[in-house]
């Protein structure tokens, strides 16, 4: 999941849960049934889980573009001066 996908998943989760809560409460109140409210909300939570938890393809539409390896090779890292003896000394301190 890419950065844009994470944002989308998070917002989708919050909006969907809130919307289902409102619908569930209204349904329960109108039908006068507490059980109906819980069932509608449970269904909503299940649907939201299926949509926002797995790594679906629509969360991967903005892949990160890394630099080409060739481009990286043009600017090599500065070489660390490696002294074999100093490692052991620092390790013992």
């Amino acid at each position: 999941m890419d950065w844009q996908g994470q944002k989308l998943a998070e917002q989708l989760m919050q909006i969907m849960l809130l919307a289902f809560a409102v619908v569930a409460f209204a349904t329960g109140y109108v039908l006068g049934s507490f059980q109906m409210m819980v069932l509608v909300y449970a269904g909503g939570v299940l649907l939201t889980s299926l949509i926002t938890i797995p790594n679906w393809p629509w969360f991967n539409r903005h892949p990160l573009k890394w630099l080409d390896p060739l481009e990286a090779e043009k600017h090599p890292k500065p070489q660390q001066p490696t002294v074999s003896g100093s490692k052991k000394k620092s390790g013992k301190k």
């Binding site: 989760m13 409460f25 507490f34 909300y41 939570v45 939201t48 926002t52």
Partner: protein, 167 residues
């Protein structure tokens, strides 16, 4: 960081938080209901009235209880507990309450009822002050909700009197 487990955890936490808020709102919605219950109790007969060997008065009576408690039920009502108490005043105590009968009403369909019964629990006074005593019969109820606040109220019916003599 943003893994399957992380998203599942965030969703469940948020879902449960919303559920708690919904339950609170459901409990608040009970305040929109203004119940208008009605009840009548007739004392049909004083079956017997005697002094126990150690001095307390005890009465057995038959009552006819009619009540319509349907308006107490809302979509958030699990059950309603009702009981009839005899209430009277003595020199020692300004309020004596003796529970005579009780019932649990599990659903609105059973809330409009009529029952003829002798007192389920013994009507015993702490002492011997029941002869010729005026008393009230009070129908108390406790509304038990599915979630949230409990409600309790009562209907007082007065004008009952016990006989002057043991029988």
């Amino acid at each position: 960081m943003h893994s399957f487990g992380y998203r599942a955890n965030a969703l469940l936490t948020f879902a449960v938080t919303i559920l708690a808020i919904m339950c609170a709102l459901v409990s608040l919605s009970d305040n929109l209901n203004t119940p208008s219950p009605s009840a009548q109790i007739q004392v049909l007969n004083i079956n017997w009235f005697q002094k126990q060997p150690h001095g307390n008065d005890e009465v057995s009576l038959t009552m006819n209880i009619t009540a319509d408690l349907q308006s107490l039920f809302t979509w958030n009502t699990k059950q309603v507990f009702v009981f009839v108490a005899a209430e009277y005043e003595t020199a020692k105590n300004s309020l004596n309450q003796v529970s005579l009968w009780d019932a649990i009403i599990p659903a609105k369909e059973h809330a409009n009822f009529w029952i003829q019964t002798a007192n389920k629990y013994r009507f015993v006074d702490q002492g011997s002050g029941l002869r010729g005593k005026k008393f009230n019969l009070t129908l108390h109820w406790h509304v038990m909700p599915k979630t949230g606040k409990m409600f309790a109220d009562k209907l007082v019916m007065s004008g009952y009197r016990l006989p002057e003599e043991y029988r």
